[in-house]
Symmetry: D2
Subunit: 310 residues, 4 copies
Amino acid sequence: MKPNLLSDENVIITVAITGGAHGKWSNPNLPLTPEEQAKDALECYDAGATVCHIHVRGEDGLATADLNVYNKTVRLIKERCPIITQIGNGIGARVEYGVKVSKSGRRYGQALKMATLEERLNLLNISPQPDMFTINAGTFEFRTNMRGMETNSLFNNPIDFNQKYVNGCKKIGVGIEIEVYDTSHIANIMDLVDMGVFEPNEKLHFSIVLGIKGGAPATVRNLLNMVDLLPEGSTWQVVTIGRYNLRTTMIAMCMGGNIRTGLEDTVYYRKGELVKNNAQLVERMVRLAKEMGREPATIDEAREILQLKK
Amino acid sequence: MKPNLLSDENVIITVAITGGAHGKWSNPNLPLTPEEQAKDALECYDAGATVCHIHVRGEDGLATADLNVYNKTVRLIKERCPIITQIGNGIGARVEYGVKVSKSGRRYGQALKMATLEERLNLLNISPQPDMFTINAGTFEFRTNMRGMETNSLFNNPIDFNQKYVNGCKKIGVGIEIEVYDTSHIANIMDLVDMGVFEPNEKLHFSIVLGIKGGAPATVRNLLNMVDLLPEGSTWQVVTIGRYNLRTTMIAMCMGGNIRTGLEDTVYYRKGELVKNNAQLVERMVRLAKEMGREPATIDEAREILQLKK
Amino acid sequence: MKPNLLSDENVIITVAITGGAHGKWSNPNLPLTPEEQAKDALECYDAGATVCHIHVRGEDGLATADLNVYNKTVRLIKERCPIITQIGNGIGARVEYGVKVSKSGRRYGQALKMATLEERLNLLNISPQPDMFTINAGTFEFRTNMRGMETNSLFNNPIDFNQKYVNGCKKIGVGIEIEVYDTSHIANIMDLVDMGVFEPNEKLHFSIVLGIKGGAPATVRNLLNMVDLLPEGSTWQVVTIGRYNLRTTMIAMCMGGNIRTGLEDTVYYRKGELVKNNAQLVERMVRLAKEMGREPATIDEAREILQLKK
Amino acid sequence: MKPNLLSDENVIITVAITGGAHGKWSNPNLPLTPEEQAKDALECYDAGATVCHIHVRGEDGLATADLNVYNKTVRLIKERCPIITQIGNGIGARVEYGVKVSKSGRRYGQALKMATLEERLNLLNISPQPDMFTINAGTFEFRTNMRGMETNSLFNNPIDFNQKYVNGCKKIGVGIEIEVYDTSHIANIMDLVDMGVFEPNEKLHFSIVLGIKGGAPATVRNLLNMVDLLPEGSTWQVVTIGRYNLRTTMIAMCMGGNIRTGLEDTVYYRKGELVKNNAQLVERMVRLAKEMGREPATIDEAREILQLKK
């Protein structure tokens, strides 16, 4: 699939308001509780976002698989505004401290405890039903700097699990967003097409995720190569984690892609300046879209493009 | 040379205010006379441009090689503001009508009459001396739509001629901008390095020109490939002619490149809306630069980067 | 169009037996007279070549536009064997000596005198009719080392001329091979498609020419980029001039392309060892094809693939 | 790092004689016992191979972590010939049958049981000491067709583990080969350089592994992109699993890379024809190397290039 530098299609702006790992220590403006998330979702909707990508947190502020929290968060968001709700099926990682013990008995280090595959499948039972779920198209070691310390964990996404997840989404009639973190992940998805999990000409919705340690670095060539590998007729957005976020997002929007922003992806608005709130990031993207002759997609347009039921 | 998505270097904004071919029939706001050009140059300087790329016009509004007009234009611009003056050494093409005669005797068509190599070399005698000259790194058939008719002409840039031009520029101590319109043109420049015309580690200043019929089309892959082929330590900007102008320019700025805008490159501000004046285009670029954390370079900074004498 | 690393299609081997510029000073085994060319064509046919790319020479051994020589050469080749005859429409360049005079009156240098557009169009009258003509998809300065001296000349291929040539070929029912020397040349051909000179889904036959000074350098990335830019359904071969010839040809054959070899493209069999005769180069290509599970195409297969009349 | 199409350096031919997963059911000529492996290693050495990549098998013919078998295999090979011994640190996967039980109680399917990280680290104690160990630069789901059934398993290669492995290799003074299966794996290695595990300008030895399900597909673009991402001064070879093996290997050799062949990588000599023995594959590579003007590296040359102690 080729980038289209002339595209004037309305751009679907997704905002990933919270994320599944970092906490208020990274940015005190990160929304954690269902109420905080619903407030940010509404502000972002008002600013022009059409999709809200959701991870939820427990009372300790860390990622949780607790369906009650998911239910409440989705419900509150839906009560506030018609923004499309999208659940990241990785749930997230709980930062655990003192989990390693050296030979001498010294406790040190921290680890990320990832959600189990069962917990992740269980998200399909969230009620009220969200509009979309995100699947992650490959397994890799997710490495991230958390509280100033390199922290690694296995992000396990076996193809059997993804097959089950896609089948589950299709059964309950929700949309699917596919996150690919490297070349090989796109090939994994093509294998799912070959296996009949996706239909031969099914319109797929990809997120090209760049800049996570363990995944493909955020470079223009990586972005371009991955766009070129997508099956014809797909939609795509770029998701860039960290300091490359703004530039790759602008480039993607120039190339006719959709985009994602939000405090999950970047806690800095610009070098040395923390983001005030998610809406601030959405507003910048709307300004940039308008400068290049694109408008933010409406909810109805996005539902049509993403093939979501009305 | 790799793109740098984190570059926060100040961006050199060049404005090509007039161009060498189209006329007020394309956009009535195109500055043609020395006075009009000086006015636009000043407005662009005030808006944040640091380099003014110049082609001049005769009394009939068409491109001319007349040194008097060049002298007057450069002088008037220099009187108004300290913007860096850069002369496009192609001069331009005069549109001629009725130049073809069919077998039946019918006169039809139009042609572009290009300046001769002698006229182009003669630009080195412009007085007051401009700051920079542009060389074009390869020969190709320049095809353009002029007054609604496809109009072709040979843009002749033999390597011997370029060698002479570079030597001429070095002799009088002016800066050189190198326009490359395809992969092969970069190889031509590497040959000039091998021939000793440029020094082995000389810092070169490239314009990657995209979107002209006869040159490389304006695609992200072409842009990226050409950036990767530039010798380490070069500076570069993208110059895109026509409707791809805005998007590729934004992408180049994201990638850490410098940029060029102006009525030579695009007569439309956006689809269906003519540019009001050159400054309007510069202002947009300044807004976009600031959004991504870059500032327009000052004259002094640009003179240092482009290695121009003070 | 994507490379196909699994292709086991028979490979069309074209042999360019003579070329239009260098002489026996480069390699004494270069066939020049009609008789020498016919002998080489037969040997190459016996070795597995299916297409013979032809430039002819006058009695002085230099390129000529003389139709008598063309007629005789084509006739002799056709008498010897059914190899497909393909005329390079550039004709070639006559090396001229002492053509430059310095200011002090010193004669120096040499030049290549290229055939005129009229002479080139006249090739359509060769009798007996050859099977194919080669068009060159763009204008550039052809630079080559001739007798130890860098020698440059304009290789003029205006789009109007190519339009006429394609129309001429179609009128007399001969096949067309399209030589592209850089990215922009492929765009020129796409413009001819847009202009209706080629039909929208016409199967086109491309030669990606690499390694000529003035054209794209012989790199894997350039080859790959140009293959990717070709319209779906095309056939392609790589033509590499000079020392990169063997490697890029092998790579093209691996990628499912057709290939060209011959003394026009390389006078060395390997570093420091002159080619003995054209058949030696064909034999190596046949060995390599067989190693990778491909067979040389037969004349009938090649005529079908290249859509030549029977 | 750029491919070098003119490289005439001697090529290091590695032969991966056995592999860690498939059995004689795939090809009855697969060497399994230490004696069979030593025999094949000698034949390959005689044919021109300089490195032997080793996985060993237990009495049941499946991959084993038993150091006794490793010791015996390495010893027997070293007794036969001076070929460089290289241990794949993944050990391999044992195919297990009937490991899944459906809800109805039906046993079905098969799984690959991978070696543990402890077993893999233990390979550093093999005696006599091998010359090199292979590390795998990233975690992914290794998917393979085994006995006609898609069989998946986690190939776990955490960065902490690789850090330990590299340190272990350096401590005992053995060489390291780095297998990268996608773009992100190269970034993982660059992170190890940043962490000081490898020294800043240490010459690294990469294998670009293509064609494994779960890793990057075997395409020319993937190969080229990964070569371009390698740090300057590295050596590299391509390792392609399955039917793309021959073509990508030839292309790599054309590009100046080293190569690997052997029954681990391909059980077919060509479409429909099983490999007779490992030496047959080495012989083909030697023939192809010679055709392109390269010779197989000698043991001494390879030890120097790979920086192995004498």
